[in-house]
């Protein structure tokens, strides 16, 4: 099997704040084959967003600190990549849609300015005028760069008279050249009257519109990998449905892989091929979404699925899990779920705890970080 597009190995991230060290991610491993949609589900504070931000290295460091691990994207280890090269990977390589549509658009710029900037970045990279990772290219190639060379500026006449000289003159693209492209992408995300919307400021748009524009921005760069960090959580349910339908259609239209992060089991079931379940910074289960939902192999997944409300049944209060999520600065020894686990045995508190093993090429396999995953099926 070919190398996966994204491979995360043993990624651990801490937050070092005054109150102590919080282990936001502990030994998270997963892989995302090209063309797949991988969902990550878990409750608030389990490290989903930290994972989403850690992959393109968008965490604030400090307070965050990547303790160990490897993030291989198209064969490059993003964690050891020099910092100045990261912008070359972001955008056309890995793009991201954020949780807060309200603040994710720059209030000082019109929609057009922001959309066109994204289109410009992609076009400059595709044409080799700016370095950067674009789908199909192998890493960065500075030798392909064709922009005007600094030495030319000294000898070039201010107003070139010959047509061929004029050609190089406007080689560097400006964002006003991309009005048509920006319009295309607004139509792609089903925005009515894109001509008008393009000239509005973000504060004049609703949350759903802004989120769609964010998606348009991310897609206009045609990334190999799109990380969607709870793209629909801030939206109300009807707009959520619109955005999800849209994203599904777009996956077909623009071939891109998605890491889809959500706390909503239903949304994940709708969107993802594979799903990873997170608990207290650990990835506790990973497998094809139908398999995980039908036959969970980790007691936490089982409990999570059981506590999801079912609109067709009304048989008393929703089942809930006793106890609460452990403090991330004082994780229990061994399996961090054992204090709340109905299957817990003494072995569960022994260090190191069970580890989810993702074997290379078994992305479709179904793994759980539990010693007793065979017994989970027997739980109520």
């Amino acid at each position: 099997m070919a190398e996966p597009l994204l491979e995360v190995k043993g990624l651990s991230v801490d937050y070092e704040v005054g109150a102590g060290t919080f282990h936001a991610l502990s030994e998270v491993s997963l892989e995302l084959p090209a063309g797949h949609v991988v969902g990550i589900v878990g409750e608030t504070g389990c490290g989903k967003s930290t994972l989403a931000h850690a992959i393109p290295r968008l965490l604030r460091e400090p307070p965050a600190r990547i303790r160990s691990g490897e993030v291989r994207f198209r064969g490059m280890d993003l964690l050891t990549l020099p910092k100045w090269k990261l912008p070359l990977v972001r955008g056309t390589g890995i793009s991201m849609v954020f949780q807060e549509p309200i603040n994710s658009l720059n209030p000082a710029f019109r929609v057009f300015d922001q959309l066109a900037e994204a289109v410009r970045i992609r076009k400059m990279r595709e044409s080799g005028q700016a370095p950067g990772l674009v789908p199909g290219s192998e890493g960065f190639d500075y030798s392909k760069r064709e922009g005007p060379k600094p030495a030319d500026a000294l000898t070039r006449p201010l107003l070139p008279s010959r047509p061929e000289a004029r050609k190089g003159f406007s080689r560097v693209l400006h964002r006003v050249d991309f009005r048509e492209d920006a319009l295309d992408y607004l139509r792609l995300v089903r925005i009515n009257d894109p001509e008008t919307i393009l000239d509005l400021y973000p504060h004049e748009l609703s949350g759903g519109m802004r989120q769609r524009i964010m998606i348009a921005m991310a897609l206009s760069e045609k990334p190999s990998l799109l990380i969607a960090d709870e793209p629909t959580s801030a939206l109300d349910i009807t707009i959520q449905a619109q955005v999800l339908t849209l994203m599904k259609e777009l996956i077909e239209e623009i071939r891109t892989s998605i890491l889809f992060i959500s706390h909503d089991l239903g949304v994940i079931a709708e969107m993802a091929d594979d799903v990873g379940v997170m608990y207290a910074g650990h990835l506790v289960e990973f497998g094809p979404v139908d398999d995980v939902y039908e036959h969970p192999r980790h007691p936490y997944t089982k409990a999570l699925l059981r506590s999801a409300p079912n609109q067709y049944k009304d048989d008393g209060p929703l089942p809930s899990l006793p106890g609460s999520v452990p403090n991330l600065s004082r994780l229990p020894s061994g399996c961090s779920f054992h204090p709340r686990c109905p299957l817990a045995k003494p072995v569960c508190s022994d260090d190191p705890g069970p580890v989810l093993e993702v074997q290379k090429g078994t992305a479709a396999g179904h793994e759980a970080a539990c010693y007793f995953s065979e017994e989970v099926a027997g739980l109520p």
């Binding site: 393109p56 968008l58 604030r60 460091e61 400090p62 100045w84 912008p87 070359l88 990977v89 972001r90 955008g91 056309t92 793009s95 991201m96 954020f98 603040n103 994710s104 658009l105 720059n106 209030p107 000082a108 900037e117 994204a118 970045i121 076009k123 044409s127 047509p163 004029r166 050609k167 003159f169 406007s170 693209l173 400006h174 006003v176 050249d177 048509e180 492209d181 295309d184 792609l188 009515n192 009257d193 008008t196 919307i197 509005l200 400021y201 004049e204 748009l205 609703s206 949350g207 759903g208 519109m209 769609r212 921005m217 991310a218 760069e221 009807t238 707009i239 619109q242 239209e253 623009i254």
Partner: protein, 356 residues
């Protein structure tokens, strides 16, 4: 989705240049329309704007009219009298009364040496305005630039953090002295004169901008839209100069306009103390200083330069206040909605409707 291939023909190039030019014109029109609306909605800003325009045009005219008219053979001066000419003083008995109160002949009266105060106040205008803009502008560029660096690259353990720390500590050292006292000390050690006192204020004025800019950068740089820009692959320097700078420009520009007035006052203070401009050069602070002892005897000699400072400072303060509204897209659009029914509110309504 149609991917438009970029044609490389010359016609397409010309088209592209044209569309860029049109977009530029559009921006200019949008900007001027915003200015017009804010001015109409806010009379105080209009007063400030009108005063600044008037002062600036007068200053420019004062500088360029004499040489140009001389070149055409008809020397012309915009001041009724030579600012340094000693006019004949009326005498009563064997006593001469040089300081005359304001009259139709001398709008602002004359001083004790018999010089026309109106001409002197007018002559001082270009110098004082230039000093205000020069010093505040220099402070904005240096202080603002240093503040941008210090605010943006402050991750502990990096070279940027060391540079930022150095900038901030030097700034603290400057801020530890009262800037006026420091400016006086520098001006005094450089010797009396216009240039030394300008240098003195230049050297002490930038730290405030460093503080202001750094604080604003720190507030903006962790906003989600900055992270979003970073996620879109925008280079760091571009994030700083486009996404961050555009969002902090508003307080900076407002502070700058108000600061032009403050610089004038400080410069006048230095002249007033007697370290700044030599007495023969007309300068507002200088004029107040020269006759401050006679405030009760010939008030007009002191009051009119004081009034000139007051009006100039007020004009820039009012303008700065209004600029805040013009620079913020939110209030600009709100004003435009209040003023006229354009297509913008209709579009916003469509937008809200479309999103369901």
């Amino acid at each position: 989705m149609t991917a438009r291939s970029s044609s490389t023909g010359i016609g397409a190039d010309a088209n592209r240049q044209l569309s860029r030019f049109l977009a530029w014109i559009g921006q200019l029109r949008r900007g001027s329309r915003g200015l017009y609306r804010v001015l109409r909605a806010n009379p105080l800003t209009l007063v400030g704007f009108a005063l600044v325009v008037l002062l600036t045009l007068t200053a420019v005219a004062l500088v360029i009219v004499p040489p140009i008219s001389a070149a055409f053979g008809h020397p012309m001066s915009l001041t009724p009298y030579d600012p340094n000419a000693l006019l004949p003083c009326p005498t009563v008995g064997n006593q001469s009364f040089c300081a005359q109160p304001p009259s139709l002949e001398h709008f602002f009266g004359t001083d004790r040496a018999g010089r026309d105060v109106f001409s002197r106040v007018l002559t001082a205008l270009p110098l004082d305005l230039a000093i205000g803009f020069l010093i505040a502008g220099f402070a904005l560029l240096t202080g603002g630039g240093l503040g941008l660096i210090a605010g943006f690259w402050d991750r502990p353990g990096t070279i940027g953090a060391a540079v930022s720390l150095t900038i901030m500590r030097i700034t603290d050292v400057f801020l530890a002295f009262p800037s006026l006292v420091l400016a006086l000390a520098i001006a005094a050690s450089l010797g009396r004169g216009t240039i030394p006192s300008i240098i003195a204020i230049l050297l002490t004025w930038w730290p405030y901008y460093v503080r202001l800019t750094r604080g604003e950068v720190l507030a903006v740089k962790h906003q989600p839209y900055v992270t979003a820009a970073r996620a879109a692959g925008v280079a760091e320097w571009r994030i700083l100069f486009r996404h961050v700078l555009r969002n902090i420009a508003e307080p900076l520009v407002v502070y700058f306009t108000m600061d032009v007035g403050t610089v004038l006052v400080v410069f006048s203070t230095i002249s007033f103390i007697g370290i700044g401009v030599p007495p023969n050069v007309p300068e507002w602070g200088n004029m107040i200083q020269a006759y401050s002892d006679y405030l009760l005897i010939f008030p007009w000699v002191v009051a009119f330069p004081g009034l000139a400072i007051f009006v100039t400072v007020l004009a820039f303060s009012l303008l700065g206040d209004g600029l805040r509204d013009i620079l913020d897209p939110r209030s600009r659009r709100a004003l435009s909605q209040a003023e006229t029914t354009t297509r913008a509110p209709a579009a916003a309504a469509t937008a809200a409707g479309a999103s369901g």
